[in-house]
Symmetry: C2
Subunit: 114 residues, 2 copies
């Protein structure tokens, strides 16, 4: 998986286990796409300090994933739901439009939750 996307998933799943300080800086880096220098200036710490904190958070979050595998599990389910949606879109011969519509609706709700 692309590094940036992996960081975003890890942050999304386990970010609440970081301290407020870590969350703010890592979130600025991963989600708000700020550079190390921008964050350093904003926080009044050195660029190296931000760099070290980001690396430390990477490790903390990866350690959680290595133990719990919840991002992996979630990505598997997401892929499966997307395959179901793909199949449902191709079921033109299905004479159950209302039920098929409801299935599509639920699958969409699940993807929103993931």
């Amino acid at each position: 998986m692309e590094k940036f996307l992996e960081q975003a998933y890890l942050y999304d799943f386990y970010g609440e286990l970081l301290t407020e300080h870590q969350k703010q800086i890592y979130g600025d880096f991963v989600l708000n796409d700020l550079s190390l220098s921008e964050i350093a200036e904003e926080q009044g710490i050195s660029r190296q300090g931000v760099h070290d904190l980001v690396r430390r958070c990477d490790k903390i979050l990866k350690d959680y994933e290595d133990k719990l595998h919840l991002v992996e599990k979630f990505l598997f389910i997401k892929k499966q739901i997307q395959e179901m949606q793909h199949i449902m879109e191709s079921m033109e011969a299905c004479e159950e439009p209302e039920k098929l519509g409801r299935l599509r609706q639920i699958s969409g709700e699940i993807l929103e939750e993931l």
Copy 2:
């Protein structure tokens, strides 16, 4: 949710974040359904000691869930998948048996993962 089931889910999701000692005792209590006295004898510690450890693990695991809400999220998805399966079972008029069969298969795979 029933207390015992809730403990089992919390253990299933976050148990790897406990220490080995906590995992063993809490697992014996929650999954293997041993009594406090049985575990106390097995571990060579007091019944009160086991009781306190179980309560402490309850709190640790609940704190993780309060922060991450992953059990809640996965239970929601499980309920949605079960509803999809229920609907698919009633789609007799659907002239796409192979595709419907594949949808059922995928939904079963997702439930196994949850």
